[in-house]
Symmetry: C2
Subunit: 199 residues, 2 copies
DNA sequence: GCTTTAAATGACTAAATACGTACAATATAA
DNA sequence: TTATATTGTACGTATTTAGTCATTTAAAGC
């Protein structure tokens, strides 16, 4: 997912980041040790500490890449000459793609970290939110979305629904965590009605 | 999955087994500590050690339950008054169901453990194999499967294909580990041809 | 060839985590 | 009331992990 953003980086740093992304997404952050990242990435610990001060710094770097990726994709989609609904479809496909290997563990740590990463996450989250609000407002200016809808409400609703991630029983009633993420996203855009042109 | 087999057990022992099954399947055995099992199962450590000598004994007990479940289901399917192909369909559905939360990690530890669990696994595996061979031979006796096919070859082929679990690159090319498991199983029964009546 | 730089290795300490046991306190049920 | 089951805390030990360092290996440039 982040691959296209780190092409310029040194090989070993790339290997670390790709491995960390994969392992963190699948098992959550706290379950993965630096040593495991190093051994699976085929990188020595020294090399790790050359590029990252510690695990937290790696996580921050990775998160910022993931945010950057999402915002870049959103901007690309916004520029396309297609209907707003088609843009929403692309966004949903993007979310589906990103959720492929996402585990419940990681999502919990990502959205509801209570460590010193919380502040860092919040900052990035606010930035991505404002990008998305601009996206909606632009669409409203072009008459593609009804102007009565406050983008701020959409964001607030999103935040509220995100708290469902903490409802273990609900999450576990889905075959995979990915299915749960899809449900939330579909619901946010289409409510209870079927997603158009989607088998 | 194993729930129906442990109904009679004491409540706390059930909680431990269900939690362990869930966590082991999702994250693999070595990543999960006894303390994590206890806390998520809402059981004290003392109670854990009352029912299980250590983690290995828990794993053995769990594995034997999982084998027992599979063999019990196979026997149930065999008794049904349906065509052989319909039975195969049921077996595939069963495998699909079992693989829902299965992670690559667990499958590796399960099939290729190199600890002292290996011997234990092999014993159970042999038993389940002979059950399956009987299943095929009975079908051959009834003329439901061509008699030219040696069941032993089928088992040997299965074992060989199972080694693909160790091919990380191949496994990772699937969206989820479950999809990979389905591919193997479909292939074993239907080769490269489509699974009948399956969308 | 030689020199300089980057990376890998193995060893090391300190901290954190996990294991397995023990005991007192509490809850439950006969 | 008397067993029985469960919990919480604590503890010593073992294992794992984090982070650092000196040394070896590999590679790149000249």
């Amino acid at each position: 997912m982040i691959q296209e953003l780190i092409k310029e980086l040194p090989l070993k740093k790339k290997q670390i980041l790709e491995t960390a992304e994969d392992l963190f997404l699948r098992f959550g952050i706290k379950r993965i040790s630096i040593e495991e990242i190093c051994s699976t990435a085929k990188v020595s610990k020294m090399t790790f500490y050359k590029y990252f001060k510690n695990k937290n710094e790696l996580v921050k770097y990775l998160w910022s890449l993931m945010f950057e990726y999402g915002m870049k994709k959103l901007e690309e989609i916004e520029k396309l000459d297609i209907t707003f609904q088609e843009k929403i479809e692309l966004i949903l496909k993007l979310k589906e793609e990103s959720a492929k290997k996402l585990s419940h563990e990681f999502a919990l740590e990502y959205f509801f970290s209570n460590t010193d990463l919380k502040e860092f996450f919040n900052q990035m989250y606010k930035r991505s939110i404002s990008t998305f609000i601009t996206f909606i407002k632009n669409a409203q200016a072009k008459g593609e979305v009804r102007t009565g809808m406050k983008p701020e409400f959409f964001i607030a609703a999103t935040n509220k629904l995100m708290e469902l991630v903490k409802d273990n029983e609900l999450v576990n009633s889905y075959d995979s965590y990915k299915d749960f993420v899809l449900e939330i996203n579909n619901f946010l855009f289409y409510g209870i009605f079927p997603r158009p042109n989607h088998e």
